[in-house]
């Protein structure tokens, strides 16, 4: 039914475009000068036809369910039910009206279900009538405006401008959405677990906080020593460190080589090939780390008499480092190429070799940009999920031994939220609190890195 209304509105919009244009031609035929091209008359009428109807349509879709719910539940309002119970009654009513209810059917429920169906059909009918009325009214209005030789280009363009502007708000809305989805759960979490315990506690066993019976009161002492995030902060930092130990030397050196030494031909082939590493999905790296690198390290370790866990921080961090190489190499390549040639020429004129020029002149000049690219790499490493989930352990050990398994913020979010989640449970909320931490950390890294890079660019442009 909704789809039918939707298609109907769209079709009417198209037809009114032709009517509008036709009207414009007929005005033209009377030798009156048009104030805009004929198609603008069409657009004008189409907008008048479709937009008010769409607005009503979507408002209706948003508010109808809650209003129906309000009316249905008003029957139960003075019987002292709790909010949760009222919600349950409403759900039961809905499923009964759809004929999918399997529980005990009381007379109360039956009347409610009947009332529900009734209300829905009233709502549906009045929606159709209202939308039709709106369409007719707005088309008539628009048509009249056209007839009186109105200007049509300006309003149409203003409308388009408004649409463009609204689209550009999507980025802000997404950010707001992220913050909103994280903040409420995080606040609830810190109501139960003190912030201090979260930041400085050294035991992280979310499995201990099994899903609690909702009717029992929340007992904070149950969760003491459960959500201390130090082990996972340390693990995140540690794995990122290992990754950067692999990525910085290789990425930086290949960036320098590509920018300063490589012939055009080598550059043409080597650069895209290295960038392939950035395009490989992280789950593939994770599989590679778990299947190949982990056992390989273990074998080497056993041969050298070391005890290496099959899921070691080294395997996850190392593979993550490989993933980050292209970020650092491409960015530092860009930064180095944009160092002005005059600096190089000056250095060569003083008799410096190429490598001396790079080390003593170009590198210091490009340093801010290189630092920025490294920071972006770090933020990648901190936010990387699948490699750690698949290649390093899921238990949060507080260790700085690269041969043992550790866990990271991202991996713990996945561990907690995989499968069914119960909102309102400290365990689920813990994942959101971790997400908030992750968001803030990467956000500050990014802002800082982008600022450094930007400042640097301005210096030479």
């Amino acid at each position: 039914m909704n789809l039918v209304i939707f298609i109907f509105i769209v079709l009417l919009g198209f037809t009114s475009y032709y009517f509008g244009r036709k009207k414009a031609y007929s005005i033209q035929a009377t030798n009156t000068r048009l104030t805009a091209l004929p198609q603008f008359y069409g657009y004008y009428l189409a907008i008048w036809c479709a937009i008010p109807a769409f607005i009503i349509y979507s408002l209706w879709a948003i508010f109808e369910p809650s209003i129906v719910k309000l009316i249905i539940l008003s029957d139960y309002s003075n019987q002292g039910y709790l909010d949760d119970e009222l919600n349950l009654i409403y759900e039961k009513t809905k499923s009964l009206s759809r004929g999918q209810f399997s529980g005990e059917i009381t007379t109360y429920l039956e009347t409610s279900a009947e009332k529900y169906l009734n209300l829905r059909s009233i709502a549906q009918n009045s929606k159709v009538v209202l939308i039709l009325a709106i369409i007719i009214a707005s088309i008539v209005y628009g048509y009249k405006r056209i007839s009186s030789n109105n200007r049509t280009r300006e309003p149409v363009e203003k409308f388009l401008n408004a649409v463009l502007f609204t689209a550009s708000l999507a980025a802000i809305l997404t950010t707001i959405g992220i913050v909103f989805s994280l903040i409420f759960q995080t606040i609830d979490f810190f109501k139960v677990i003190p912030l201090f315990d979260f930041i400085f506690g050294t035991h992280w066993y979310p499995a201990k906080a099994f899903v609690r019976d909702a009717s029992e009161p929340l007992d904070p002492s149950m969760y003491s020593d459960t959500f201390g995030a130090v082990p996972i902060f340390a693990g995140t930092f540690f794995i990122a460190l290992i990754a950067m130990c692999v990525a910085i030397p290789i990425g930086l050196m290949s960036g320098i080589y590509l920018a300063e030494y490589a012939s055009t031909k080598v550059r043409q082939y080597a650069k895209p090939l290295i960038e392939i590493l950035a395009g490989i999905p992280t789950v593939v790296y994770g599989f590679f780390a778990a299947l190949t690198v982990g056992p390989f390290l273990k074998d080497i370790g056993t041969a050298m008499g070391l005890e290496v866990s099959a899921e070691s921080a080294l395997a996850a961090g190392g593979v993550m480092g490989i993933m980050i190489i292209p970020f650092i190499s491409s960015l530092s390549d860009d930064v180095i190429t944009s160092v002005p040639q005059s600096l190089r020429d000056g250095s060569y004129a003083m008799g410096a070799t190429k490598s001396e020029t790079i080390k003593k002149v170009i590198f210091p000049a490009a340093l801010p940009g290189i630092v920025g690219s490294i920071l972006l790499g770090v933020s990648r490493a901190v936010g990387e999920t699948m490699i750690v989930v698949m290649a390093s352990g899921l238990a949060a050990n507080l260790t700085f031994n690269p041969l043992e398994s550790t866990s990271t913020i991202t991996a713990q979010i996945v561990v907690i939220l995989i499968g069914d989640q119960a909102f309102g449970d400290p365990k689920t909320q813990a994942a959101f609190a971790l997400g908030m931490t992750l968001f803030l950390v990467t956000l500050s890294l990014n802002i800082f890195a982008l600022r450094v890079v930007k400042k640097y660019r301005e210096k030479y442009e």
Binding site: V163, S168, F287, T410, G435
Partner: protein, 422 residues
């Protein structure tokens, strides 16, 4: 004095050589990783495109199927094939004990009943006759036949019994084991049994997610980019939007998963585990990528085009919509495809919104529960059975194939259609 100078010069030249060597070896290492990586995936994965079949003589005995004489098509549909199928397997070794009979049954997939049924439905005249039928071998035997499974392990550490191996070797000798192209890998949905697991369900899930992502992200991103590049006044608010876009591009993907979970599932009550929610989540993630690409290509359109249009009396909106935007489309489209390729490989956000649920049906719409290719890789990689290792690699090959095609496509669009303005 001179000697000292020469010495210094020589050591400086050596330092130069060393530095170059470091650079070369860095590139070499990066490419080496890539090669090892691809080699490893292909060497473990190529066998998954072959499937082992046991060719077993089936006697279509009407009595075992509880069929009357001259059964109709419906009778054949409804007939009981299980006993017939069991009997067929037991006939491989008539002297088998009860435990051995069980082993015999487990030499083939649990689809053996269906495979026999299909044979008879194709040719109802087979009743009373004997015909060789291809049955899917169990994944353990499949792995043994491909040489991926060590036969010399002690029996209690193997999933294949000595008895099964004996019968299997007899069949191999008689030429009754055959390896054919594994079509079911592409047409079957996911399964708990490695020999029957295919990528059809996750593939469709990926397609639906990407379509939803495209439908939402592309228009919004292009409109936003047009506004920011062509119309937006230079003020604080526009700067704020820009900062937002740049930051969103670097937010870890798992945070978008939390957004999908906390807003789309918890607040808007959209159905869990569906490509619809997955696609919306991915679209929020790809939005900044497309906006940035579109803005870059709008910026690359030279001002002379705009000035010419304005000089001819076009309004700002007409100039943009009729001239600037069409000219920027190649760059925008290739940026969009690259953004979609990124979204196609994304796993973590989809796990959070429940697309890891076990789905053994092929989704028909974005509202049906589904997995996606990368999530399928994760699910299979986590299962213990040996048969899944090659499946994971094969699935990775399919995924990488898609990514390569998409990136090539983006390159082609960029090079073929983009105008060079200098």
């Amino acid at each position: 004095m001179n000697k000292n100078k020469e010495k210094l010069l020589n050591s400086r030249y050596r330092a130069e050589k060393r530095f170059q060597f470091y650079g070369k070896s860095a590139i070499f290492l990066a490419l080496l990783f890539l090669t090892i990586f691809i080699f490893k995936i292909f060497s473990t994965g190529y066998t998954a495109f072959q499937k082992t079949w046991l060719i077993v003589p089936v006697t279509f005995d009407a009595e075992t199927m509880y069929l009357d004489e001259n059964p109709s098509k419906e009778d054949l549909e409804d007939a009981d094939y299980f006993d017939l199928a069991l009997q067929t397997m037991f006939n491989l070794d008539k002297s088998a004990s009860e435990k051995q009979q069980n082993d015999l049954k487990r030499m083939v997939s649990y689809f053996f009943e269906r495979e026999i049924k299909r044979e008879l439905l194709n040719d109802p005249s087979l009743i009373g006759k004997t015909k060789d039928v291809y049955l899917t071998a169990s994944d353990d035997l499949d792995q043994v036949f491909k040489g991926n499974y060590p036969r010399d392990l002690p029996e209690d550490q193997r999933r294949v019994t000595d008895y099964q191996l004996k019968i299997f070797d007899q069949l191999v000798e008689q030429g009754r084991v055959e390896s054919k192209f594994n079509l079911s890998f592409f047409t079957y949905p996911d399964s708990r049994e490695a020999e029957l697991a295919g990528i059809a369900s996750s593939f469709m899930g990926s397609i639906f997610s990407i379509l939803v992502c495209l439908v939402i992200a592309f228009p919004v991103a292009v409109l936003a980019a047009i506004y920011l590049e062509e119309f937006a006044p230079k003020n604080r608010f526009t700067d704020f939007i820009e900062v937002n876009i740049n930051n969103l591009a670097a937010v870890p993907s798992i945070v978008f998963g939390l957004l999908g979970l906390g807003i789309l599932l918890a607040v808007f009550q959209l159905p869990r585990s569906t490509p619809l929610v997955g696609g919306i989540t991915l679209s929020l993630m790809t939005l900044p990528t497309i906006i940035i690409a579109c803005r870059a290509s709008l910026k690359a359109v030279p001002p002379s085009i705009r000035e010419a249009a304005l000089a001819m009396g076009a309004s700002k909106m007409q100039t943009t919509m009729h001239h600037t935007v069409p000219l920027s489309m190649p760059g925008t489209l290739s940026g969009t495809i690259i953004g979609l390729a990124q979204a196609l490989g994304e796993t973590a956000p989809l796990i959070l919104i429940g697309m890891v649920a076990f789905v053994n049906t092929i989704p028909g719409s974005p509202l049906d529960p589904a997995a996606s290719l990368p999530v399928q890789i994760y699910i299979w990689a986590e299962s213990a059975e040996r048969g899944f290792v090659e499946k994971v690699s094969a699935c990775i090959m399919v995924l990488l194939g898609f990514l390569i095609i998409m990136n090539l496509f983006a390159q082609i669009i960029r090079h073929k259609f983009e105008k060079k303005w200098s």
